[in-house]
Amino acid sequence: MWQFIEVGVPLALILLGFFAGRLAERNHYTSIHKREDEFLSQPAATTKTIEEGREVQSAELAVGSVVVSVDYYKRFLSAFRMLFGGELRSYASVLDRGKREAILRMKESSPTADVYLNFRMETATISKGKRKAIGSVEVVAYSTAIKFKA
């Protein structure tokens, strides 16, 4: 009985993580792609200056942030990967989603800007999971939103 619980519970969590995590990831990517298309003509740049001769109407700080975490299945996979080293591909998609979501939220915080200057992105570990695995990560994106005179 106890053996069944010891094996069964983690297995159920892994399956839950696999299916629910995969579904959530697909839905999130659909939403990211759709929103990224809307902001195609409003780029973010890491440069600090604008082209000469354009008059600026307003400048303000735009900030976007998100906290993301990995699902149980990916954490399970990463435990194996950490034995042998190498790229953690299962975590890459989680952080990719976080970064793109943070950029989109930054742009959505001042949606009428023409360009986002001096774009910066930072990640901070919020909680460390068991055995040094990444628990959850915060991604912050910020920049100066510039609106040109028409």
Partner: protein
């Protein structure tokens, strides 16, 4: 107050520089959001409770920096930076700093 993270305010001229201002806050999380987050950790994805908490903290830190700048007589805050540091398990410091200036 105009806030930017570049060295100037585009379209405006800096007439006076008041130096560094900063604002910070250290926040701990509520055990309720913590519990919800630990459940959400199983399926992964966004932890909305934490996102909100950190957004609020960042706003608070920025408001404190702004208040300092206003006190000095500035009307803009330039070259703003953020930093996050976890002080203890479950508590984080959010720091916001920049240069207070007067622009025309």
């Amino acid at each position: 107050m105009i806030i930017t993270n570049i060295e100037t305010v585009p379209g405006k001229r800096i007439v006076e520089n008041y130096g560094l201002v900063q604002g910070s806050t250290i926040r701990a999380k509520h055990f309720g959001t913590d519990l919800a987050a630990s459940l959400k950790n199983l399926v992964g994805g966004e932890l909305k409770g934490y996102t909100e908490l950190l957004q609020k903290s960042r706003k608070e830190a920025m408001e404190r920096a702004e208040a300092q700048a206003t006190e000095l007589g500035a009307n803009a805050l330039i070259n703003v930076r953020f930093a996050t540091a976890s002080v203890a398990q479950g508590a984080a410091e959010i720091l916001c700093y920049g240069t207070a200036v007067k622009v025309e």
